[in-house]
């Protein structure tokens, strides 16, 4: 698969001396959905803003579709659609006109059939004659997406697409992204909702204090950093964990009917088989077993904390 975005050693230092980004490099393949995770002020929006042309980098290069964003900015920008974090729409303009306007701004000739298709896919067609100020928050956000898609970009940036929106709207937004994924649009989104990244992304990048801590396929990340817990349901309740397995950090439930065993998926041996064998040897009958993987939130906190500790030590 070809890379649609290539970022090499990107940095941004503001006049005040604040370093917003340092040495960020990444490649994003066409059709991928990438989530950039990080706490507030980590540098996610700065990164997106540089790629889209809102912020001028201090060093490094960015190429979009092979076009350098500084020397060949017109060609690069034609490939990009941006949905900003804040809802910004001209209040007295109709949905239809504002979408047509954006298409024109990107130098694309009129194509009402395509715009109709975009509005229909975002459930906005019935609202095409409405002024943007009359729309609900969710619809306004969809109008921003329609504007960003109006010139048929190959890459869509969603900067905190669900910041400050309710749960129902967040689900709705995820469905929109799922639809775009099916259409083959490359999507880069920033979020600090880990659930969002877990739900949508193929790959996840973690940014903290201007540095890209890692960039991995979501499943690898979960597997690599994720801890799992095994719950063993018992046929008959126990009063205590059998002595022969007491050194393995097992936790007995209050009613004595379940044992929880936490293990590291990265370890060579998880110890599950031995544990089950030892329990059988003790005469404990197992009724059922289930596993639970730690959430991305836990993975994320582990990474950020490790980064903080490394920084403190240095």
């Amino acid at each position: 698969m070809t890379n649609i975005i290539e970022i090499d050693d990107l940095s941004k230092q503001y006049g005040s001396g604040t370093t917003a980004l340092q040495g960020v490099s990444m490649e994003i393949a066409e059709g991928e959905i990438v989530a950039l995770l990080g706490p507030n002020g980590a540098g996610k929006t700065t990164l997106i803003s540089i790629i889209c042309g809102l912020v001028v980098p201090t060093g490094g290069t960015v190429r979009v579709g092979g076009h350098d964003i500084r020397t060949d900015w017109r060609a690069a920008r034609r490939l990009i659609g941006l949905v900003p974090q804040e809802i910004a729409l001209e209040p007295f303009e109709t949905v239809w006109n504002t979408v047509r306007f954006t298409r024109g701004l990107y130098g694309a000739g009129p194509d009402d059939a395509y715009l109709e298709q975009v509005l229909r896919s975002l459930a906005l067609w019935d609202k095409r004659a409405a002024m943007t100020r009359e729309l609900s928050g969710g619809m306004k956000r969809r109008v921003l997406i329609a504007k960003a898609l109006s010139h048929q970009p190959r890459v869509l940036f969603l900067d905190e697409p669900t910041a400050g929106v309710d749960v129902a709207l967040r689900r709705e937004m995820w469905q929109v992204v799922e639809g775009l994924r099916r259409d083959g649009v490359t999507i880069i989104l920033t979020t600090h909702y880990l659930e969002e990244a877990e739900e949508m992304a193929d790959r996840i990048g973690v940014i903290n204090r201007g540095e890209l801590l890692l960039m991995k396929p979501k499943d690898d990340l979960m597997g690599e950093f994720g801890r799992k817990s095994l719950t063993i349901e018992l046929d008959a309740p126990l009063t205590a964990v059998p002595k022969s397995v007491a050194d393995r950090g097992l936790v007995l439930s209050e009613d004595g009917r379940a044992i929880r065993y936490d293990y590291d998926t990265r370890a060579e041996r998880t110890g599950i088989a031995r544990l089950l064998g030892d329990l059988a040897g003790e005469g404990v009958t197992v009724r059922d077993v289930s596993t639970r993987q730690s959430s991305l939130e836990e993975v994320f906190m582990t990474l950020v904390n490790e980064d903080r500790k490394a920084e403190d030590a240095a």
Partner: protein, 257 residues
């Protein structure tokens, strides 16, 4: 390869700005027409009746170029400044900064629309003046040329004001404090030669005097300053404004904050 100039981009901005004008056509046209009619009634009929003529031109006709200039300066500045300030205010300015339009295209779209709107209103005022006074235009081509250059120059100035302004108050400040006094002191309603020599010399420091003088020459063939000087003055203004706008877009001053 991308084309060097994004023509559809310029058209999108121009069209968008013109649509706003046509949406509010009554307010846009009616208010300047009413105020001009009042000027004709007050200056032309009431006061003009006592002034007879200025350098051989009936006073009612003499003030027509000044009134058109007054309108074109005010309308150019307010249209262009509001045009670019509103996206800054509503947050939609990001669209102009991330799309493949450069400073020249953004300026062409906004300033072009502001200048066209101001020229339309000025021409409506000229048409209105025919109801009150008989105006014969000696050099129609040069009248249109001065109209265009002045509309362009002051739309560029308005564009800079809109880029600079951080509030609606600031947006109003320069037109109110600077432009209107300059027009009134620039000979809109009198000839600079009617002033005592000292004040005539002071008046010649006012750039607007050169515009009104050149414009009046196109109408009646009489001018306070040579026409060539008027043309150079407005051309210099256009060049300076372009340079400032280019600097603002290159540095992002008040634009990418």
């Amino acid at each position: 390869m991308s084309p060097a100039v994004n023509w559809p981009g310029i058209w999108a901005i121009f069209h968008h700005e013109m649509m706003r004008f046509f949406r509010t056509i009554m307010q846009s046209m009616l208010s300047p027409v009413i105020s001009t009619t009042l000027y004709f009634v007050v200056f032309g009929a009431a006061i003009g009746g006592r002034i007879q003529s200025v350098e051989g031109v009936p006073y009612g006709a003499f003030i027509v170029p000044g009134l058109m200039m007054l309108t074109i300066l005010q309308q150019s500045v307010s249209n262009a400044s509001f045009g670019i300030y509103f996206p800054k205010f509503s947050g939609t300015i990001y669209e102009y900064l991330v799309s493949p339009v450069g400073w020249i295209e953004v300026t062409a779209g906004f300033v072009g629309a502001a200048a066209v709107k101001a020229m339309l209103i000025a021409l409506v005022i000229l048409a209105t003046s025919f109801f009150f006074v008989g105006v014969h235009i000696l050099h129609p081509f040069w009248m249109m040329a001065f109209l265009f250059l002045t509309a362009l120059g002051f739309s560029l100035l308005g564009f800079i004001i809109g880029l600079w302004a951080r509030s609606f108050e600031q947006l109003q400040l320069i037109p109110l404090m600077v432009i209107t006094p300059l027009v009134f002191l620039g000979g809109a309603f009198y000839s600079a030669s009617m002033l005592p020599p000292f004040w005539e010399a002071v008046a010649k420091l006012n750039p607007v005097l050169y515009l009104i003088s050149g414009f009046r020459w196109a109408f009646f063939g009489l001018a306070d300053v040579p026409v060539g000087v008027s043309l150079v003055a407005v051309a210099v203004m256009v060049v300076i404004c372009f340079a400032i706008i280019r600097w603002i877009f290159a540095t992002g001053w008040r634009l990418r904050e």
